[in-house]
């Protein structure tokens, strides 16, 4: 088991009332928003199981929206997020569902706008979260690492090109998750990093052939 630190025990400072249903929801929203990385016109939130059932009493819906809008976990505006000018600028909708094949605290974000994207994740306890799906690709984002998400046309050699570029920055790869919809079709890479990649590395990645989406997602502050 991971050794905790004193700072974990006497924090986080957060808007109540529940670390999994409120703080976790904000963090999921923040991370999903970073994955989408644009101003959505509309967001459809699908909350499952315990998130759907006790979510309202814990402000899970508010937390998810606040996160997407970029509010921090301890932002006191979360409580009245529906009335904030930020929230009034986008359309949103909440669906409360039951699906016992999903995690007890699962959520899907459907972003609509210039780009449509679905991001799914779970709140796994004590404010810890995991984003496990982007569109149909499985990923593994927990907000604790700077991460690269790449969606590309499945071609031989793309993975080694990408890791080669990261290597030039002397950044260690903590974990890597690859998935594809089929041979020669769309594929994805989720790379968690121990350090930070440079701007030039990101530019080089962006200019690679066969890449549709490149996202550099910074780890969450809290």
């Amino acid at each position: 088991m991971r050794q905790s630190s004193i700072t974990d025990i006497i924090s986080p400072i957060m808007a109540g009332p529940s670390s999994s249903h409120t703080a976790g929801a904000v963090r999921l929203g923040l991370l999903a928003g970073n994955v989408y990385n644009a101003k959505p016109e509309k967001v459809i939130f699908k909350l499952y199981n315990s998130y759907a059932l006790t979510g309202k009493g814990h402000g899970t819906d508010k937390g998810l929206l606040a996160g997407v809008l970029g509010f921090a976990v301890d932002d006191e505006r979360i409580k009245n997020v529906f009335d904030t000018p930020e929230a009034k600028k986008i359309k949103y909708e909440f669906n409360f569902l039951e699906d016992f094949n999903r995690h007890p605290n699962a959520v899907d974000f459907h972003f609509e706008g210039d780009l449509n994207m679905t991001v799914s994740g779970n709140s796994i306890g004590a404010g810890e979260i995991i984003i496990d799906k982007i569109n149909n690709f499985s990923v593994n984002l927990d907000g604790k690492y700077n991460s690269l998400i790449l969606v590309y046309h499945d071609e031989p050699g793309v993975i080694s090109k990408v890791t080669g570029m990261i290597q030039l920055d002397k950044v260690n790869i903590a974990s890597m998750n690859c998935d594809r919809s089929g041979k020669g079709k769309e594929a994805s890479m989720c790379i968690c990093l121990d350090g930070e990649v440079s701007k030039s590395c990101l530019e080089a990645l962006n200019s690679l052939e066969h890449l549709y989406i490149v996202r550099y997602i910074k780890k969450l502050e809290i």
Partner: protein, 289 residues
């Protein structure tokens, strides 16, 4: 120095280096360059400030929680007509604990210490005592670090979460943390501090987590003042030189085992206990629509 994972190691490290628990804890955090003293003290100061803010806001609010079932209890206690049989500080502790917990249920800003549901226990004991007995900010930070170290050692054995260990692992752990902080501020020695934590923990073994409607509300809010005063008893006994016959680490072992033996129905799933009472079921129908 090896990383400290048990109360026994903590005790011997303090004794060997003639240091207090918070000093040893800070050295321990800084091992392998992980968390510098500065980082830990800064977080403690930030958390302490946020705790004080939460109390201040909670004291003057009667805004209901989302569910509408609570929100005015801190006010009621502050304006109680009954003559209190508790001293001034103990009364203040109960009020601060309710103030913080109710703030939590209003989506106010609180410190999860160690969790959101148990957020009123450590701050109420620490801050009310510090106010009434003139403990300066530095002393409060040292006490919060002592509490944090107590929680950290417990959490090495089991996660501080109701879903894993029941409420003994949330409010119970918070009470042990508060007892350690208080005993530290009262000038207790290392042995007394560890004993106060052990005594507090020993007396909450088996405490279930059965929140009504799945909300961190019933019994959580009122459990905070109860568990805060529980920490006073532990500190009072320990300061008198009374020791826990079962050493602290073994109490933690017992707590871990008890958590495992506890039915999942009583661990945050709201499938048993208070959550399945007639009144709770009726509330569920009304609230979770």
């Amino acid at each position: 120095m090896e990383k400290i994972t048990t109360f026994r190691q903590l005790y011997y490290a303090c004794k060997e280096n003639k240091k207090s628990i918070y000093e040893t804890a800070l050295d321990n955090e800084a091992l392998n360059g992980e968390n510098s003293e500065y980082t830990v003290r800064l977080q403690a100061k930030k958390s302490l400030d946020a705790m004080k803010e939460a109390i201040k806001s909670g004291l003057v609010s009667t805004e209901p929680s989302f569910s509408g079932i609570s929100g005015d209890e801190c006010y009621k206690l502050q304006t109680s007509k009954a003559e209190s049989i508790l001293g001034k500080t103990a009364q203040k502790i109960m009020i601060y604990a309710l103030a913080t917990s109710e703030q939590n249920l209003r989506m106010g800003r609180i410190v999860a210490c160690p969790t959101a549901g148990s957020c009123g226990i450590v701050p109420s004991v620490l801050i009310a005592y510090a106010e009434d007995y003139g403990i300066k900010e530095d002393g409060q930070i040292n006490a919060l670090i002592t509490a944090g170290e107590t929680g950290r050692i417990i959490s090495n054995k089991m996660p501080l979460s109701g879903a894993v260990g029941g409420c003994q692992a949330e409010c119970g752990a918070a009470s042990a943390m508060a007892a350690a902080a208080l005993t530290q501020m009262r000038g207790g020695d290392v042995k007394q501090i560890i004993n106060s934590a052990a005594l507090a923990l020993k007396n909450v073994l088996g405490l279930t987590c059965d929140p009504v409607c799945g909300l961190v509300e019933i019994p959580c809010i009122k459990r905070n003042p109860f568990m805060a005063l529980h920490a006073l008893t532990a500190s009072e006994l320990a300061m008198a030189g009374i020791i826990s016959k079962i050493p602290a680490d073994e109490v933690v072992d017992a707590m871990e085992q008890t958590g495992k033996l506890m039915s999942p129905l009583l661990k945050e799933s709201s499938q048993g206990g208070l959550a399945k009472t007639k009144t709770a079921m009726a509330l569920e129908k009304n609230i979770l629509k």
